[in-house]
Symmetry: C2
Subunit: 271 residues, 2 copies
């Protein structure tokens, strides 16, 4: 499950709630595409902005629409209490894997993060990917902490922000723990240098284009937008431009990237 192309769909929503039909449409596109797993409620899926009830609903819709493809569900939250609830709900919905970032408000210590993963891995029965994303969480994993967590039961992968630590961590973590990359602009190089999986924002909306990147295509104009606006804001705009969702489709205060910047890039890259 934690190999190849993991596709992270947007969760289209507005202030009144989740757009079920649009989300089902996005997941169905992935179910019939050449992706190895569908990862709902990643950062692109706005997991951090949803209630536990909304997240359980998204997990159920994803499993139903995935047509048997492996489903990974993000369970991160500020409180251990809520993470455990999300893990339970995702497993009950039929998820195949979980994804957990140490989301913070008060910046977390290494002991607190290890304790979180210890508490969660004790309670789950399916594989978990450790989500390392300092930009959104404010937390930086040391090599030592990654190694300690990778040795906990059920840990099956680490999702890294870029590929530069893969060679180092490969020597430190157990052989069964897959090492993956996010930050779409890092993916081609990281895969060439031994990453097992690309946790892909692009793949969640344009899976064929993500496969093309894995085969050598260069989407630098899109990566430039991703870096400047944040990938979630760009795919939100792209999804609306391509008629896959209505707009707005992000949780306020977030705002989608300007359509007049995104549209020409989609045209140029034939997305």
């Amino acid at each position: 499950m934690f190999t190849g192309l993991s596709a992270f769909p947007l969760t289209p929503l507005d202030e009144d709630g989740i757009h079920k039909a649009a989300f089902t449409r996005l997941v169905t596109r992935l179910a019939t595409a050449d992706v190895d797993a569908i990862a709902a409620l990643g950062s692109t899926g706005s997991y951090a902005y949803l209630t536990s009830e909304e997240r359980a609903k998204v997990a159920r819709i994803t499993v139903q629409a995935a047509q048997g493809k492996p489903v990974i569900v993000g369970i991160g939250a500020l409180r251990t209490r809520d993470v455990l609830q999300h893990a339970h709900d995702a497993q009950t919905a039929g998820a195949d894997g979980l994804l957990l970032a140490p989301v913070s408000y008060q910046r977390l210590t290494d002991e607190e993060v290890f304790g979180l993963f210890e508490d969660v891995t004790r309670a789950i029965s399916i594989p978990l990917a450790v989500y390392d994303n300092p930009t959104t969480t404010g937390f930086t994993f040391s090599d030592e902490l990654h190694t300690a967590i990778a040795n906990l039961p059920h840990v099956g992968a680490i999702k890294l922000p870029g590929g530069e630590r893969i060679a180092t961590l490969r020597k430190l973590v157990p052989a069964h723990v897959r090492l993956g990359v996010s930050g779409d602009w890092f993916a081609a190089e990281a895969l060439a240098n031994g990453a097992d999986v690309w946790f892909s924002v692009l793949g969640g909306l344009f899976p064929e284009a993500a496969r093309a990147v894995m085969d050598g295509a260069d989407l630098e104009p899109l990566w430039d937008l991703f870096r400047r606006h944040g990938s979630v804001r760009v795919v939100a705009t792209a999804a609306a431009l391509r008629g896959l969702t209505s707009e707005p489709n992000l949780p306020r205060p977030l705002r989608a990237a300007p359509a007049d910047e995104v549209a020409p890039v989609l045209e140029q890259l034939k997305l």
Copy 2:
């Protein structure tokens, strides 16, 4: 309301919920102490870790226990939807002022943060303090953004992380907007240099000691603990050591500071 000493109590809680009796005890201490306002659900009050229902309950308890002292309530959340709900609930509970930080998961743009404050100030009828805390929010306010937000209706104060920008902002924001300092170890110098208010963690647990700091007392051994462990972890330990709460009293994954480091400092400083 946004002058002098604003005291931020801990919200004692564990995985089963808020400890109402202990919280009421902490607020009652402040109601009968020499503080100018009681600020519930600040960072020290773990606002970011609580549900909307829990936060409404804390707001009601605070107003009841405050015995007429001004009550400020923190309303920050990742989603504008939830911030508006918290503002409504705090006003309904009888709060006198609100406190809002631009909490983030996806890092926010200036336009998004301005939009948040615009949406919220349009919906409220009591004064709001802008909570500038880059460490917990991941967001850094420019002088221009502070000035723009300070000109919105109902904005009554800015809570700054340290005192070094007060002289600059004083020239930029409207005269009725108070400028306050947090980070307790910065307070004495900032007040001497013209801060209007100290938003105080220490004052939420030991209000007499906070007054002593305003009169020149030096609590450096405590500030050292605050800087190393985070002030919320230290006051959590101190509250339990002084028998004011049970333990654990913080939301997991957070853990209180080690008692064997905090106890000697409390003894030394006669807290």
